[in-house]
Structures are given as structure tokens and as C-alpha cells.
Symmetry: C3
Subunit: 237 residues, 3 copies
């Protein structure tokens, strides 16, 4: 059995939902973990929700076929107080003391395998206010569907090019670290938007990237550690 505040486990589902509708949930002895890749193989999420964030965590370790959409549906009808999540005879029972949602989980073997986390040298990084990053991605997306993410010195620049027009915004890094190399890569707006929304309440996010390399966002949502990695688009398409 797991007992946890509704909004904490909802935040866990929201991060996953930014990329995947279903995934393999690993119940460890003291952590819930998911590593998953989206259908198009463009983006990856890695998330850990630790035992310390639970009021109770006595569930047997194992693997669960997690239907993220159904989990969200179950949690959406629950009150914001603590909810219990229990595995019973092959089912998962969510309850907040008022509503009871009995759910048949997916067969894990029908879900994509967990990918191996790539180790990748991303030479430049900045630390940015999560809300400002989110609002910028939302604002600049009006004229195009690809975003250039550049880091130079202590500055992150986000820009979008339309047919004739160009929008850009510079944001100063909060850690003051001077990056030795200037880098820039191009990403799909849709992926940046979905992930930005999931990170919005995380205070600050650390953004790592390179020249025509993936971008990785590391963030912490009230003790839940997570990261998104997104592959670049080819500039010329």
C-alpha cells in the first residue's frame, strides 16, 4: 500500500503525461521510478518519487503496466488530501476515503521496454526560472513550430523564426556560470511546450545542451527528481 498526498502523485503523473500515455512503473524498495521514451523516439523522461514523499510506502517491489491517462482520471476525482493506492488481486485500488476507483493495470510486457539512459556530454548549461522559461516558450511559439535554444556566456537565448518574422528573448542564468563554448540547437516547439508545462512549478530548472545536440532539463518538484531529454531537429528541414 502507498499513501501520499493527491497533488504529489498527480505531479508525478503530469510529468509522465507530458511524453507518454503509458509506461512501465518500477516500484522499488524505497522509490517509484519511470524511465520512458515517447512514441516518436524524440524525448525521454526519467523520474523518481522517493519513499520520503509518501505518508506510507509498504507496497511490494515490482513492475506495473501504468496507464498514465487512467491514473490521472482516478486522481482527478479524488480530494487533494492523502490518497491510498493498493494492489489487490491484480487490480489497483485508488481511494481518498470518499471515492473508490478500481483499475485494471496494463500488462507490462505490452509496453515499450525501458530505454538505457544515455550518457552524453552536453558542454553548456544555465539555471533558469521555471515559470519564466514556460511563459517564454508559450509566447514565442505563435509564429513557428521550431525553437532555437542557444547558450552563450551566461545567457540563454530562445528564438523562433516565422516565414518573415523573428521573435527572440534572452534570459540570464541564475548561477552566474560563464560557459566556455557558445552552443545552439533547434527543437520542436511541441515537445518544449509539453515539458515546460510539466516543469512550471519546479522553481528553477537546469538546462544542459550542446551544438546540434539534445537538450536536458533537470528539475525537482517538491522532492521529486526528474529530467527530460529531447533530441534536436535538423536545422535545414
Amino acid at each position: 500500500m502507498m499513501k501520499i498526498e493527491q497533488k504529489r502523485i498527480t505531479a508525478f503523473c503530469d510529468v509522465l503525461r507530458a511524453l507518454v500515455p503509458e509506461c512501465r512503473l518500477i516500484i522499488g524498495p524505497d522509490v517509484l521510478n519511470v524511465i520512458a521514451v515517447d512514441t516518436a523516439n524524440v524525448a525521454m523522461v526519467n523520474i523518481n518519487l522517493h519513499k520520503a514523499q509518501f505518508e506510507e510506502f509498504t507496497e511490494e517491489p515490482g513492475e506495473v503496466g501504468m496507464d498514465v491517462v487512467k491514473w490521472k482520471q482516478a486522481l482527478d476525482i479524488m480530494k487533494t488530501g492523502p490518497v491510498t493506492i493498493t494492489r489487490q488481486a491484480g487490480k489497483i485500488v485508488f481511494s481518498d476515503g470518499l471515492y473508490t476507483y478500481t483499475h485494471v493495470p496494463l500488462d507490462p510486457t505490452t509496453i515499450r521496454k525501458r530505454p538505457t539512459c544515455p550518457t552524453m556530454m552536453l558542454p553548456a548549461s544555465v539555471v533558469i526560472d521555471a515559470k519564466e522559461y514556460h511563459d517564454t516558450i508559450k509566447a514565442i511559439g505563435v509564429i513557428g513550430d521550431k525553437v532555437r535554444v542557444s547558450i552563450k556566456g551566461t545567457t540563454l537565448e530562445l528564438s523562433v523564426e516565422g516565414d518573415t518574422d523573428l521573435i527572440r528573448k534572452e534570459i540570464e542564468s541564475k548561477d552566474g556560470k560563464e560557459n566556455a563554448v557558445a552552443v545552439a540547437s533547434l527543437f520542436s516547439l511541441d515537445y518544449l511546450k509539453e515539458t515546460a508545462k510539466a516543469m512550471r512549478d519546479s522553481g528553477t530548472i537546469t538546462i544542459h545542451t550542446g551544438k546540434d545536440h539534445p537538450v536536458r532539463f533537470d528539475f525537482d518538484l517538491d522532492g521529486m527528481e526528474a529530467s527530460f531529454m529531447i533530441a534536436p531537429r535538423i536545422s535545414e528541414d
Copy 2:
């Protein structure tokens, strides 16, 4: 001529609109009454708005072909203060002192006849908070389109079954009455949703039902007495 607060006559129209777009309105010597059945013959409404709820009520008794949608439209543009409703030369004139809405009523003979109110033994009943009932119906409808309404002892249970999942909620009756028999019937979510919305502000509602029998909701909206009756769905479909 009738003079009444806009929100009272709007509430009257809202209850009707939950089931029918048009109906036969009976203007009695000291009451407005409608008894009407929806097009699919699944649900019935019976409502009385008494003279005491009006500031003036000097309209001649008679029958009016009521276009509920148009009445709503007329009332929606009026201020929330008192509105006058007057029959003049075959027309109905709504006015709040600013806007004047002149409406040609329907010919009552083109509208379905008033049904006879069935007398029906519904052995079990509970008294439930109207808002909690409304919120529950709205919440549990996410996974299916049929709702099981059960009464057992002092408890109402509402549940919906999806393809694999099940949501249920128990609500304790406010009158503490112990029901001698346990009953359950299945109803269309759509009818429960529409009627729940119309009853939301009524404080408490009394729910009567039986085993595979209709359900009846009795409620009072600020002095306006009304009831909805809904026929059950066959469990096996």
C-alpha cells in the same frame, strides 16, 4: 401580468430545460405548473411556481405553448431585478424596464400532451446534499455512460463501470432513516447529469428508488417545488 425576480423565473426555465425544449405551461389561478415528458419518453418533470414567489400575479388562467429556449433567451438579456411577463394580443412581452422582448408563443396543440403522473411504489429513499450529489455524478461519469444508483440501509451508493475500471462513492443519508430493503437500478448518465445540474442549488434532494425501478428526485428551489422522474436502463444492455 406576472412580475417576478428574473432569477426565480430563470430557475423555473432551467428545470424544464433539463428535459424539454418546449412544453405546455398551465397558468392556474395561483400557480404556474408544467408536467412534461422528454422526447425519448425516459424522463418526466413536474414543477410548480406558486403565486407567493411573484411580486404580482394577475395573469388570466390558461394554457401557453412554452418555447423554453426562447424564454431563456429573453430572460438572459434581462437584469436580475424584477421582470414583467404579459400576454398581449396573442404575444408574450418580457420586460425589465430596459429591454423589451416580444415573443410569439407556440401553439399548445402542436406540443406533446401533458402526461398523467404515475403513482409508483418506490420503497427506498435517502436525503442527500444537492451539491455533493451533483459533483459526484459529474466526477464518476468519466469512465462510462450508465450509473448504478443503489440504496442500502442509510447509504446511497453511486457507481459507474468502464471497460475495465470501476468508480464508486457512498453518501450517507441526512435523515438517518434505515431502509428496510436494499435496491439498485441503472440509469443513463446524460439524464442524471442534466437533472443534477438543475437541482444543484436546491440544498437537499430526496431520492426515491426501487429495484430496477425509476428514480424520483424531489427538490425545492427557493419555494418552487419540483420533481424529476427517470426510467431505469435494462442492466444487461
Copy 3:
């Protein structure tokens, strides 16, 4: 270069957007001016934003092909504080100090010519609260798509006729001027709605019209002088 509060230049664009997606913007020595006709030749706008409304106004006089939709898009992502608008090497650069929006203007020769402002005798006029006018146009439009605008004595009457129903509202003129002639003309609801929205925050508007003649709305938005003129619909269609 022009420097102006974002909301002032946005209001300028909103007035234009009520009728045209693009127009010829005249930058005069101490004013921005547009006179433009909508695609259907039904309505005209004439607007002046004076140097006094700017924090700086050092832009060279000339004509600019103004893409109103793109200007709105650029201004929408800016903060509400001052924005600078600069012509640089054939481009227009908008900036609020955070976002930079670089825009390629339209070729003015591809845009409809500026019309000559007709001088027209409109014998009757009233002065009306802009918000009340807006709310009335919005409310009465529910039953039809043509609005009759009548002036008689000191009163403006707005009315819409549906298939069977009729809505009307009288509004007293604020200037107390008794009009010698009673006039009435019929107009498309859509034009009245769009222009009413653009005038809503202007305090009062002066409405001039005649018998089956155009209507002209004169208004002032925080120092920006503008007028809309709309041609009547033939009553019999």
C-alpha cells in the same frame, strides 16, 4: 523610433482590427494615421494617434504596409510597459526590453488605396455610454443578424427582429439635444458588434445617422481620436 505604452498602441491596432487585417499606415510628422475600408466596402475607419500619446516620436514620416494581425501578435507578447518600434533596414523591430520581435512589413502598393473620406449629412445624433451601447448590441443580437438603429427626440432605439420575436432597447442621449427629425436605418449585426467591441472603453460615443443612411461613430480612446462609418443594409432584403 517610436516609444509608447504597449496598451496605447495595442488599442490603436484593436480599432483597425475591427475592420481590416492590413492597411496603409501613414507616419506623419506628429501623428500616426490610418483611413481604411473593409474588404466588402461596407465600413470605414479613420484614426489618429498623436505624438502627445508617445514617450518618443522621432520616426521619419512615410507610409508603411501594416499587417495588423502581426502587429497585434508582436504586441501581445510584450509587457504592458513602454515598447519601442523602430524601422531598420526595411524591417520593423518591436521591443519591450525583454522580447524582440523583428517583422518584415507588407509592400504598401499591394494594399488597397486609402479612400477619400466622404462628407455626408447625417441629420440626427446622440451621445451614448460606450459600455452600455456595447452590451446592448451584444445582448440583442441573439435572435437576428440585422439591427435597426433609430433616433427620435433625445432617444436612441436599438432593435432586432427574429423570425417571430422582437427585442428592443431605448437609451437616452447624454447631451439632452432634441433631434428635429426621426430617423432609422438597418445595419449588419456583425459590423456593429466588431466596432462596438473596439469602442467599449472610450467612455462615450457620439452616434450620427439619417434615414436609410450610414451611421458614424465618433469616439476618443485616451487621446486617440477615431471614427467608424458603416453603410446601411437595404431594409427589404
